[in-house]
Symmetry: C2
Subunit: 153 residues, 2 copies
DNA sequence: CGGTGATGGTTGAACGTTCAACTAAAGCGG
DNA sequence: CCGCTTTAGTTGAACGTTCAACCATCACCG
């Protein structure tokens, strides 16, 4: 079956490349800052954040994977490292013998508390300082539409 | 010196998380599709694209690095792999004996031509089909503002 | 019940990226 | 022309991610 490719218009082309460049540059910058100042990649930071927001600072591995946007495998490896660093602990799940619960230790919480201000400052400087309030609102709507669309059939 | 952290407002918080989730999901999806259909990660695809657009399909390594948003080191490793696959070749630069020129081979061009339609279709489906024309325009302006801002002092 | 498929999570290998160290050549000031 | 700094690019090790295979347990249904 022959299917015609729906190529991008020049405008779309330009938007796509601009988005690619901008989001890559932003993420790279924040990742590098976090690595330099807190010794951890952004993915690990986000795992700690999600744990810190959970009731009792504990979450099932799969919920944590969903919340932090990691694959299960990625999370397994990551939690193994975070556990070695003493920032996270694992416990068996009482209601499901297959399950594991990850919990943020006090040391992990302290680490997060130390890293947060610098990182938030970075997000503000590199992202929000570049945008007008209208654009912030637009970016939110675009992002939400995108996520909505991506999580469909 | 004590510096007060400029925390994020709830609106900014929401925007930041939405953006994070959306861009990660989008990139992951496109990367996975490209890996499945063309056997290469998105970063390699982009290197091939930039080479294909250059005069005579050749670029200095550093120009290629800038154009494709890679670090020099990343590009070195990547080109080594692309060369092993027969898609790219290296040549000495005649005007600067330190320099290297990467050039896209016919095999590489063919590979790219085979991969492009599927990938473009993915970009259209996952990104542009989710947005209204106004939003596409907004996203472009936001992205350009961001890049502009990031490439400053 | 007992089988069958789905779910939760881990593992190791292959891969790609980063970081710091390094070589070599170019540019520049005296 | 000689040192000094800068630029171009590579290298290897450490790290993080992906992918596929895997084990264990659970849930459902005949």
């Amino acid at each position: 079956m022959v299917v015609m490719t729906r190529w991008l218009t020049p405008d779309e082309q330009r938007t796509w490349r601009a988005f690619l460049t901008a989001s890559r540059a932003l993420m790279d910058t924040l990742d590098r800052e976090l690595q330099r100042d807190a010794g951890m990649p952004h993915a690990y930071y986000e795992i700690l954040v999600r744990l810190s927001e959970a009731p009792e600072r504990r979450l099932r591995m799969s919920e944590l994977a969903d919340a932090s946007g990691s694959s299960r495998s990625r999370l397994s490896h990551a939690v193994a490292r975070l556990e070695a660093a003493g920032w996270v602990r694992r416990e068996d799940c009482p209601t499901d013998r297959r399950g594991q619960i990850a919990l943020l230790t006090d040391a992990g919480f302290a680490e997060l508390a130390a890293a947060a201000p610098g990182h938030v400052e970075g997000v503000r400087r590199h992202l929000f300082d570049a945008l007008r309030p209208t654009q912030v609102e637009q970016l939110r709507q675009i992002s939400e539409a995108l996520t909505e669309h991506l999580s469909r059939p």
